[in-house]
């Protein structure tokens, strides 16, 4: 007996539920995307269990209520209510009893007010986190909805409209496929229920697999532009950069798959896009919803209007119009997601070049036709070779264009491309990169629509069902510690690394820079970094420059802390003394019997995000005075740290420190010292600031950089000198200290999370020892602690007050265990001059 429309048999339901259980386990074990997604998926899968058995008339209302509950679950009641209320206002405007044009004008007016709030020109009472989701729900869907209201005049159904705008998974995904309202209406139980549900599971499984593959590429195969050396690195950079798009295709598969669980048999979002065999083919395969949206709203209307120009003229003009609109709409999308417009030359160049290629390709197709078949043709060797050549050529060309799109500047991209003419040296990781690319291609949804169409009713033996179950089982099992720890250390560590969503080395470095610079290119589609920043409060978060804590000096050091500054932040008071130290007041000369330490470092040492009394410097000073490990009467630690200071700046800071006659200088290094040193030199040269140290000036000359050299090119040229630069900085600091009878000590303070930054640590420690520093390596300070309990926020990995307490204790222990070395001159009370 066949089930009634929209119903499935109990056995089929149990099967789907088991698959969803495996999916949930995978989401949990691999921490896919965010904890919010896990919670939302639990809600959605539980909702599916109810929805699948409801009478048809209750299903849309149920789905709408579930979507609204999802918003409240993720955002909490207050912010969720704001989001829903704003959405309802926008929907209500679409149905005001006034002329269509007037409704559009009202919407534009409200949109302008919201835009002013998004840009922080007007205050908004809701959280910053509401914007990207509100934007994602309404920025394109309102256009599609209005288009249908005008042309199709669909019957108004509050449940249908509510479910369309507040689509359940949207609350977790700011990047969301542009679902067409007409498709949405027509797709609801347009196919057999089991077929739709199972297709949803297939797509979600494939989406999660893409997201795991994305992590493999993101963690292991991306190459920073500054480290590209020669054609091999360049090829890896270009291919890995293109593969990062797996994250978008993974998210979109998951989203549409989840909607299938509620009966929406929507079309696929991507179709073997890495296997496109021409530029028009690529445009048709990647982000299909976007292509359909642009076709419907811009391309066809433009073409029909310009038909009088003749087919060729209308086609060329319409295509160019579509790509220009795409460029502008991406900037518009960026605005709602990030709060600023993204209009850059690489962006414009990418869309312009793609437009030209697609126009040429379209004209060729109009003239020569495109091979279409009703049935798959028997493969021939010659046909396969020709297809392979075209596919490889298209992949290479699009990957190259993609690298232009994501480049910081045209000059930077061009500098990168110049690496193609160096002698070929293939990096060891190029082959694995290509293998991951092949796997990515193999797991894209080939013929999914056809699979869905062919599946009729519940069957355990279907090919795609078997693949989905096998994929789910493999992923769920691989994520279990009991399984992966038995696969050998290498495999276990590899899987363990994939189980968390963290920043890779490139993004980690950008995040370090982000506290002090206006980030203009937190990458738009693939970066995890911008998601962190998206959650950061726009106001109320500590900003060095904005708060007036720092002032510019106009010389090599660029900036310093303003003396006599006081501000109260969310995290406590920030006070600087009359010398511009974040510390209590000290006399310039230490009192007799005082053991004075000058502390050099950057933001973590200054105490970014903690109150004056909570810095590890203040705590350590108190502990030293309580324990008196070197038997001095009094201990003073002068905090000369300044946020953003790089090693070459510390050389200048040393001169200031020595004016206070310390007995020891404690230099705190936090990782990537060598790389950050050459980054800084590149910045100094670009800003035409004189370098007061002949050795460093000579390095910039030998590297061949000038103020006009594009930044990433300059860093790339300076990289071979990075250890030389660090050795000089350390050597000069230690030598100057020794000359003055001051003890040079280097403290290695790790970052909160382990990661790629650790690669440079052995070189840092060696350089410090070679220079004559006494090294206090406290790399293990955070071991055994959950980093999330020790950091300021998800988007700010500076240690919080608990972190500072931990550092102070660890340092005190370390100092106490080495008093002989550190306080060897205890009898010598001569301060440095």
């Amino acid at each position: 007996m066949q089930p009634v429309e929209g119903r499935i048999r109990l056995s089929a339901f149990v099967f789907i539920a088991a698959e969803l259980g495996l999916l949930l386990l995978t989401l949990r074990q691999f921490q896919i995307e965010s904890s919010a997604l896990l919670r939302l998926s639990m809600l959605a899968f539980a909702g599916f269990a109810v929805h699948a058995f409801l009478p048809m008339r209750y299903r849309l209302p149920f789905f709408t209520v579930l979507s609204l509950a999802g918003i409240l679950l993720v955002f909490g009641f207050a912010q969720g209510a704001w989001l829903i209320a704003l959405g309802l206002v926008l929907i209500a405007i679409c149905h005001l009893p006034i002329a269509f044009g007037a409704r559009v004008l009202v919407l534009l007016g409200v949109g302008l007010v919201l835009a002013a709030q998004r840009a922080n020109w007007l205050p908004a009472p809701w959280s910053l986190a509401v914007w990207p989701i509100l934007g994602s729900m309404f920025m394109f869907r309102l256009i599609a909805y209005l288009y249908d209201l005008k042309h199709e005049k669909p019957e108004f159904s509050p449940w249908r409209v509510g479910s369309y705008f507040f689509l359940l998974p949207n609350v977790c995904f700011p990047l969301f496929p542009v679902v067409d309202y007409k498709n949405f209406r027509r797709s609801h139980y347009a196919a057999d229920a089991y077929t739709t549900y199972q297709t949803g599971v297939d797509w979600m499984a494939r989406g999660v697999l893409h997201l795991i593959l994305y992590r493999v590429v993101y963690y292991y195969f991306t190459v920073p532009a500054t480290e590209v050396k020669g054609p091999g690195d360049l090829a890896q950079f270009i291919v890995a950069n293109f593969l990062l798009y797996l994250r978008v295709s993974g998210q979109f598969h998951f989203i549409i798959g989840l909607l299938c669980l509620f009966g929406f048999r929507l079309p696929e979002t991507h179709h073997l896009y890495y296997l496109a065999s021409s530029f028009t083919d690529f445009w048709r395969r990647i982000n299909i919803y976007w292509k359909e949206f642009m076709q419907k709203i811009f391309y066809y209307p433009a073409f029909f209007r310009l038909k009088g120009w003749g087919t060729t003229g209308a086609l060329v003009a319409s295509t160019i119009f579509v790509f220009a609109a795409t460029w502008l709409l991406h900037a518009y999308q960026w605005f709602w997601l990030r709060g600023s417009f993204l209009l850059t030359l690489p962006d414009a160049s990418f869309w312009a070049i793609l437009a030209v290629l697609v126009v040429i390709n379209s004209l060729w197709e109009i003239r020569h036709g495109r091979q279409r078949r009703l049935k798959p043709a028997a493969p021939t060797a010659a046909g396969a070779v020709w297809l392979g050549v075209r596919t490889a050529g298209t992949f290479a060309a699009i990957a190259l264009l993609w690298s232009l799109w994501t480049a910081e500047s045209l000059a930077g991209w061009w500098g990168l491309m110049s690496e193609a003419v160096r002698p070929v040296a293939l990096p060891a990781s190029l082959v694995p990169t290509i293998m991951v690319a092949a796997l990515a291609v193999a797991t894209t949804p080939g013929g999914v629509a056809k699979v869905g169409a062919q599946r009729r009713g519940f069957s355990l033996g279907g090919r795609s069902t078997v693949i989905a179950v096998a994929t789910l089982l493999l992923m769920a099992l691989a994520g279990l510690p009991a399984v992966y720890t038995r696969l050998g250390t290498g495999v276990a560590n590899f899987i363990l690394s994939l189980r968390t969503g963290q920043l890779n080395r490139v993004d980690q470095a950008m995040m370090e820079r982000g506290y002090y610079e206006d980030l203009v290119r937190v990458d738009r589609f693939n970066s995890q970094l911008w998601e962190l920043y998206m959650n950061r409060p726009a106001v109320g978060w500590l900003d060095v420059q904005g708060s007036g804590l720092a002032r510019f000096t106009g010389d090599f050091i660029q900036e310093e802390l303003r003396p006599g500054f006081r501000s109260t932040t969310t995290f406590g008071a920030i006070t600087t003394n009359r010398w511009g130290m974040r510390d209590r007041d000290y006399e310039q000369r230490p009192a007799p019997g005082t053991y004075r330490i000058a502390l050099l470092g950057a933001s973590s040492v200054m105490g970014w995000g903690v109150g004056d009394e909570e810095t590890f410097e203040a705590l350590l000073e108190a502990q030293l005075n309580a324990g008196r490990p070197g038997r001095h009467e009094r201990y003073e630690i002068l905090n000369l740290a300044v946020p953003g200071y790089q090693p070459p700046q510390q050389r200048v800071a040393l001169d200031k420190a020595l004016q206070f006659e310390p007995r020891a200088v404690y230099y705190v290094a936090t990782g990537r010292e060598a790389s950050r040193s050459v980054d800084y030199l590149a910045e100094i040269v670009r800003k035409r600031i004189a370098i007061p140290y002949p050795v460093l000036a000579d390095v910039t000359r030998r590297a061949g950089i000038a103020p006009t050299t594009e930044h990433s090119t300059a860093v790339r040229r300076l990289r071979p000198f990075r250890n030389e630069v660090l050795a000089w900085v350390y050597g000069d600091i230690a030598a100057r200290c020794r000359e003055r009878g001051v003890l040079p000590v280097l403290i290695f303070l790790p970052q909160l999370r382990g990661g790629e930054w650790e690669v440079e640590t052995p070189d840092i420690l060696k350089a410090a020892r070679d220079a004559g520093f006494i090294v206090l390596d406290i790399s293990d300070v955070y071991r055994g602690h959950d980093p999330t309990t020790l950091r300021l926020a998800e988007w700010d990995e500076h240690p919080n007050a608990a972190g500072h307490r931990l550092i102070a204790k660890r340092l005190h222990d370390s100092i106490s265990s080495r008093t002989g070395e550190l306080f060897a001159d205890a009898g010598n009370s001569r301060p440095a001059r």
Binding site: Y147, H151, E152, K182, R186, P267, T280, R284, Q295, K296, Y299, Y300, P301, F303, F304, R305, K307, T311, L315, S362, E365, I366, G369, R370, R372, R373, L374, K375, A449
Partner: protein, 81 residues
Amino acid sequence: MDHIEESVKAYILKEFLPGEDPAELTDGTPLVTGGILDSLATLKLVSFLEEQYGIAVQAHEADVEHLDTIRDIAALVRSKL
């Protein structure tokens, strides 16, 4: 098969499916969702319909609802005659 269906089928076979077995193309064969009518082919087909039958097709009608099968296309043409 009516005249419109025949004419549309002949056009599709000639323009987009040369060499294919005519028997394989039925009134219900999915054209848009089946990948036979992409955006370029859709525009060519619309131009043909407008010239052949003296009708005006609107931009919003160039979609899967109206053009997915020969049956849908014929219905669209009839609605405008």
